[in-house]
């Protein structure tokens, strides 16, 4: 049962990542692209957690945690750059 459920969830998260990728390619402004990259980070974190449940290993958890942290940092850096034209003043 958990295998079927994680299969469905992986397909749904994959569709979500495709939609975010579409916004990343299409996005009329650079801010839309930053939002799309943020959504891609979050979705890949969820996808790694789901894949770890499917395989029954705790190995993917650390990768998901690192992706969540670096995604937040890169989003903050992008937003800071768009606001001020510089990251560390």
């Amino acid at each position: 049962m958990i295998v079927a459920a994680t299969g469905i969830a992986l397909i749904l998260i994959g569709l979500a990542m495709l939609l975010a990728l579409w916004r990343l390619v299409l996005g009329p402004d650079v801010v839309d692209r930053v939002v799309a990259i943020d959504a891609l980070y979050v979705n890949s974190c969820a996808m790694l957690l789901t894949y770890g449940i499917r395989l029954g290993t705790g190995l993917h958890f650390e990768a998901a945690l690192v992706i969540a942290m670096l995604g937040f940092l890169s989003t903050v850096a992008f937003a800071k750059f768009l606001l001020r034209g510089d990251i560390i003043e």
Binding site: I8, A9, V31, V42, M69, F72, L82
Partner: protein, 107 residues
């Protein structure tokens, strides 16, 4: 016990997938940048939270001991997602991006 935890984990993981898909649907379909910011930043917390709670339930039942380290991801995402959404919204405001008005879609 094990079957119940499996069922809880299955329902939660599918709910998390649906939440992620809804957020990205909002990102892809809504008409302006400020609205598109809402989709992922609101549902990301819900999606990650559901998937991580499913992971807690699954690994707790599997190893026979409470597995709490997935709660770390929930706390981290719940703390950082509003901050990054606020910063992106400020950047979009600073760039004076066009905002959607109701009469744009009137025929």
């Amino acid at each position: 016990m094990n079957a119940v935890a499996d069922m809880v984990a299955s329902v939660l993981v599918v709910l998390g997938g649906v939440a992620c898909l809804l957020g990205s649907l909002g990102l892809a379909r809504l008409p302006d940048t400020f609205m598109r910011l809402h989709g992922p930043s609101k549902t990301a917390t819900l999606g990650i939270g559901c998937v991580a709670l499913a992971s807690v339930s699954f690994f707790s039942a599997r190893e026979g001991a409470f597995s709490a380290h997935e709660l770390l991801i929930i706390v981290f995402v719940a703390m950082t997602t509003p901050v990054s959404a606020h910063l992106i919204a400020r950047a979009a405001w600073h760039r004076r991006l066009p905002r959607w008005r109701d009469e744009d879609t009137q025929p």
